[in-house]
């Protein structure tokens, strides 16, 4: 599997504070990779190191298979910082043209793409407005367009849903899908786990400056599965009560080995209408990991 971003054994301290401690992250090319973790866990620091904005005290960084260079970052990477990174004293279209040109596009192409992205983000009517005249959500849209304008191979989005209304959040999710469809890799750094769960293929969990887990979401949920099943059936409930099951709003919940549970149901001649493993949600996994000492 080709790697879009690799951090291996990275340490980084700010004075006495250790922001990253032996962090290793491997982002596979293609698809969406989410960086999850509580505030101060080291997500943004990891991204800044990946982009060359910070130097690691120790460790190795590979960006799109190369040692990070200015040219790679400029032409092949799109980055949306956590803060709303737009020139408020510039007109929306001028801002996008400027970013496009800085990204290596010629003037005509930068203008064409600026118009295209203004249209995509629903900002065409505000093209000549100064960014300071836009709402925060609109400014965020403009910043997102700035990061995607040059169709980068690797898109790094740090808290991209900040300030977006539900419709705009849906639009952004669509843009992320579009990026992966054209073969780009998206790194999503967010505390909105539901979005990550919907969009991401793989997840890295960070807490207290360390990587706690890194895998696909399915694998993480399976790994965190505690053997609980949700069961629905017709007939007497004695068999399941005898197994320690309890009634829930939607049926019965019982913990145990799946095969054994099914065997008991057959023994008692119970007609099961539902037998479903209760995999933990990504939120539960994150909370469990980050709350544990």
């Amino acid at each position: 599997m080709r790697s879009a971003l690799t951090l291996r054994g990275v340490d980084r301290s700010f004075g006495e504070h250790r922001a990253l401690c032996d962090v290793s992250i491997d982002v596979h090319a293609g698809g969406v990779h989410a960086l999850l973790g509580p505030n101060g866990s080291g997500k943004s620091t990891s991204l800044r190191i990946a982009l060359g904005l910070l130097k690691p005290d120790r460790g190795e960084v590979r960006l799109l298979g190369e040692v990070p260079s200015g040219r790679t970052r400029k032409l092949r990477v799109g980055y949306l910082p956590e803060q709303r990174s737009v020139y408020v004293e510039m007109r929306c279209r001028d801002h996008l043209v400027f970013i496009g040109r800085m990204r290596g596009l010629d003037r005509a192409e930068a203008r064409r793409r600026a118009d295209q992205w203004l249209d995509t983000m629903g900002l065409s009517e505000r093209a000549r407005a100064y960014a300071k005249e836009l709402s925060k959500g609109m400014q965020q849209k403009l910043a997102i367009a700035s990061a995607l304008l040059h169709e980068p191979e690797l898109v790094i989005l740090d808290e991209p849903f900040n300030g977006l209304d539900p419709v705009a959040q849906g639009l952004l999710e669509g843009l992320v899908d579009a990026c992966t469809e054209r073969g780009a890799t998206v790194i999503l750094c967010t505390h909105l786990i539901e979005h990550a769960e919907r969009l991401a293929d793989r997840v890295t969990l960070l807490a207290q400056s360390r990587v706690l887990a890194e895998d696909s979401i399915v694998a993480l949920r399976q790994a965190a599965f505690a053997g609980w099943y949700e069961v629905d059936f017709e007939g007497s409930a004695e068999w399941i009560a005898g197994l320690g099951g309890h009634k829930t709003e939607t049926g019965w919940a019982v913990q145990g080995d799946g095969k054994l549970l099914l065997g008991r149901a057959v023994e008692h001649d119970v007609a099961l209408s539902r037998f479903e493993a209760m995999l933990p949600s990504l939120r539960q996994i994150v909370v469990e990991h980050t709350e544990s000492p």
Partner: protein, 407 residues
Amino acid sequence: MRDVLIIAWREFSVRVFRWTFWLVALGVPVLALLMALGLAAGERGDLRTVAVVDSAGELDGALVDYFEESALIRIERGEPEPERVGEEISGVLRLGRETRSEGSAVVQGARPLPTAHARALEEAVQYVLIDEALASSGVSGDVLLGVQVEFEDLQGQVDETDLEMRVGAVIGATGLMILWMVLAGQPLQVVLSVLEEKESGLVEALLGITSARALLMGKILGLGGVAVVQGCLWGSPFLVLSVLATSEGIDDPEALEFFGALPGPDVAVVFGVALVLGYLSFTLIAAVVASLLPSKQHADGANMVLMVLSFVPIAVGLPATNNPMALSARVFGLIPPSPLSCPSRDTHRGDRWGRLCWALGSRRCSWWGCYGWRTGYSWRRRWVPGSQSGAGGGPRLLPRGGGRGMS
């Protein structure tokens, strides 16, 4: 380099292509012009034409030379109307020692002179050390008894001279302000621009695209372009006005001399280089300050300090030169001071340093010496005793404070 130019164009265009920029840029010269007109229109009617009755003619040359040089008072030469001598005297200037004028048949009384010109006249006469002047010319002291000063109403002559002085002062002050704003104003914008990028997170996005060096160079170049446009817009009306004024013979106020000299290629080139160096030095200081500040909230105080600091070289150096603009250009441009530069015009008036300055007083020396801006002729008059044309053999103006030992 491409990145630098793109960033420079952004910095330039977001400032220049706004109506507020043009409002300020075009409004400043208009305001300055209104100020000049206001000053020129005010304070009339308190001026006098001074007539000096010097029957023996011994002091005529010295007084006329002095007053023409100072451009404060114009003296009409010629024989006074005989019937007016001793009749329409409204005041008598105390010349030299008061006791000398006592007993004169034409003196009607003595009182302090009320106007600025009269005070200047009184001060000027102090240069005429009568005893020494008489000693050097062989004239007896009794001649002084015939010296009187008569005042008449304004006839327009003094007013014109005063107008020139005021307009020259306004132009000079405005020019100095323009220079300061161009040199110090735009570098202050660097502080705000850098802080804006730091606060908004733009700097992270931009440093992912280009280097910090390119970012800063682009800013310096772009804001320099703004400064050039601003300087041209503000400076050109004054330049035109000054050249016109110079061609009309208004050449005494030194600011006008400066502007008049600017079209010369040598001065213009050196001045341009000084401007660029000054701009760069201030911009770099501003960039360092901006890098140390955490947010825009701290920018106001830092900008205030920078503004005050930028005035220091002007304030300190103002007395050190014939022309404050030349001084500020020298300091802003980090041109090293010459060993010949004079901390005070009066200190070396007439001494060996003064004469040395004059001896080397070519245009080149005017740059590296006392920055006289092609004022060789006026230096000659100002610094060197006995250089006045037509002074003849009569008493001459001598240095303030005595002049004993001067030849």
